[in-house]
């Protein structure tokens, strides 16, 4: 893991591959202007979801991958972000873009508060406490005392925003660019944070908390702030999802959501920023193609039953833990290193 961090943490500036990658993402929606297809809006929506999941995984990765605190409760912060945006838009009449910073601040606060008890918990116990949080949240959101604000079980319906300044974009194209801009901003912030003093402190705490403390790092402060920032990032993703889907409901923020973040994290690569993008894309692809994967498996292995997406996720998690514990990004780094040694 340390080697993984070293590979980019010590180099100045953003790599060429990363720049090319973001540029590619930025011109993708323009394909719609040339290739006129009714399914294009759907692909754009998938792109938005991928970016949103990538941001959530980024938040989780900051906490798990770089700071070593395990959270199974990030669906809760995602929910807080989504509901913050929805309530502000619905009742406060606040424009959708202004809800994003508010969601970030609210979720930072929530994460910071949860970070305090988390300080005393380590490893399995922290996983346990956050697991309980993920299970409790949907029920909490449905409660009748706040149903006036949250819409109870039915949730809240929102308006899909139109592109501003008369830009010649469709609503979905505009939302894609919104997600992309937010994603770029957050990745840039995290990238810079991790390369500096605070990033080294976070990783030192992950590798050996006591040694880090001896070196003069305020471990308690760093851990709570890391929890807060992580929750804030995931909360922004939640707000974006509320805006793009234009609907929030308690049952979309279950433990399963937390597990899909974890799947994205493990598939993409623990403690890897490009891994977050890979993970985000992966979650959406599996979710959208689970039916065809299931059909394919039924045919090839002549199964009698449908294969649900969760069975695929679970099996994949196990296989990755055994054969590729650093995820796809780790695999790429390893292959590159092997090639470099081979053709030196």
């Amino acid at each position: 893991m340390a080697a993984l961090a070293r590979s980019w943490a010590t180099k100045p500036g953003i790599g060429r591959v990363a720049l090319l990658f973001w540029f590619g993402l930025a011109i993708l929606p323009l394909v719609g202007s040339v290739w006129d297809s009714p399914s294009f809006d759907y692909y754009l929506f998938m792109g938005q979801s991928m970016l949103i999941y990538a941001i959530s995984v980024l938040g989780l990765n900051l906490l798990i991958g770089f700071n070593g605190q395990i959270s199974l409760g990030h669906s809760a912060f995602f929910a807080v972000g989504a509901y913050t945006a929805a309530i502000l838009m619905n009742f406060g009449g606040i424009p959708y873009w202004a809800t994003l910073p508010v969601a970030a601040v609210v979720c930072f606060g929530a994460g910071f508060m949860f970070g305090f008890p988390a300080l005393k918990l380590e490893g399995h116990y922290l996983a346990l406490a956050t697991f309980t949080l993920a299970i409790a949240v949907p029920q909490l959101l449905k409660h009748k005392s706040i149903a006036g604000w949250t819409g109870g079980v039915g949730g809240l319906l929102l308006d899909k925003p139109d592109p501003p300044f008369g830009l010649p974009l469709s609503a979905d194209q505009w939302l894609y660019y919104l997600c992309l801009a937010v994603a770029m901003l957050l990745f840039w912030i995290v990238f810079n944070m991790l390369r500096g003093r605070s990033g080294r402190a976070l990783m030192a705490i992950r590798d050996h908390a006591m040694a880090a403390g001896t070196m003069g790092i305020d471990t308690a402060l760093y851990k709570t702030v890391a929890f807060g920032i992580s929750a804030g990032i995931t909360g922004v993703a939640g707000a974006l999802s509320a805006i793009t889907i234009a609907y929030v409901a308690p049952d979309s923020f279950t433990l399963q959501l937390s597990i899909s973040f974890l799947v994205g994290l493990v598939v993409g690569g623990i403690a890897s920023l490009p891994g977050c993008m890979i993970g985000g894309a992966f979650i959406v692809v599996v979710q959208n193609s689970s039916q065809s994967i299931s059909d394919w498996m039924k045919e090839t292995f002549s199964l009698r039953y449908d294969v649900p997406a969760w069975a695929i996720y679970g099996t994949l998690l196990l296989l990755l833990m055994f054969f590729l514990p650093n995820g796809i990004a780790g695999g790429v780094v390893a292959v590159r290193g092997w090639l470099a040694r081979k053709f030196r």
Binding site: L121, Y125, K142, L255, D306, G314, L317
Partner: protein, 290 residues
């Protein structure tokens, strides 16, 4: 007053089930130091197996016994095949594995038996025995099964060589190995026992909450709370904790916060115990040497 007694009685019934789940968790914690997030789904899966057998015409107690056996061996199998290679892996890898198992069992159950709710028979009649509408034979039966199980486990751990070997392996693996205990197999045995106990919990709870692939999620959280309240390293404490959580949950639910916030109550309890008294009421404080 009658309502109060009724709440206590039904609290004890659900407490007995939480105690079973907590016992399974403690079993795995004591033997391997891990918290098994898949405990609930494994129990649910075993309960479906029992349902299939009963549905096919197998008598209840035969199905009950064979399900426990199957669960025991699949627990053993899971430890040997999936967790043994990860014995020295970091915590995150283990948590990911448990979450993976949870997803797989949940999906498999939905895949094989569908997500529609099923009725599960109870071996105990639903008559009330004292004739005052307070306590049913069903409730007495559930509590009795839990207590019998606790007694068997206590005897097993205290008075048999195998139980002693298991305790030794958990407390000091290196010394136990030097004494000729096959430590790794003791861990597997712990998993098997936990899985069997989980199956019993599942079969006890299914007649009450009905059988569906998500039935154990909430119960698992209460099981966690029970195990933590009593002390996660102590079987007797876990059972007591389970009963305490069951009764508290019912009283708090019906008098203070209402039924919709019961899971949040469990969350508060879990976080509260972990913060204020991490060793639980009956647990020993473990001091770590650096």
């Amino acid at each position: 007053m009658e309502f109060f007694v009724q709440q206590i009685a039904s609290g004890l019934t659900s407490g007995a089930i939480y105690a079973c789940v907590a016992l399974g968790l403690v079993m795995i914690y004591v033997s391997t130091d891990h918290i098994n997030f898949a405990q609930g789904e494994m129990a649910m899966f075993a309960t479906y197996l029992a349902w299939s057998m009963i549905d096919a015409g197998v008598p209840y107690w035969v199905a009950f016994g064979s399900t426990i056996l199957v669960a025991f061996f699949s627990g053993l199998f899971i430890q040997r095949v999936i967790l043994k290679p990860l014995e020295t892996a970091p915590v995150l890898a283990l948590v990911v594995c448990f979450i993976a198992l949870l997803s797989i069992f949940n999906a498999l159950a939905g895949m094989i038996w569908s997500f529609t709710i099923k009725q599960f028979p109870s071996p105990f009649p639903r008559v009330d025995i004292f004739g005052n509408g307070l306590v049913s034979a069903q409730q007495i039966g559930v509590v009795a099964v839990t207590l019998v199980m606790l007694a068997i486990l206590t005897v097993f751990f205290r008075y048999t060589t195998l139980g002693l070997a298991m305790r030794a392996a958990a407390q000091n693996a290196a010394s136990a190995r030097l004494m000729g205990v096959r430590v790794s197999w003791m861990l597997a045995l712990g998993w098997g026992l936990a899985s069997g106990i989980g199956a019993i919990a599942g079969m006890l709870v299914a007649p009450i909450v009905f059988l569906d692939p998500n039935m154990m999620t909430g119960i698992l959280v209460y099981g966690f709370a029970g195990a933590l309240v009593g002390g996660i390293a102590n079987p007797m404490g876990a059972v007591a904790g389970g009963f305490i959580v069951g009764v508290l949950e019912n009283l708090v639910g019906s008098y203070i916060i209402g039924n919709e916030l019961k899971l949040s109550f469990a969350l508060i309890m879990v976080v509260g115990v972990l913060l204020l008294k991490p060793a639980g009421i009956f647990g020993r404080v473990i001091v770590r040497r650096v």
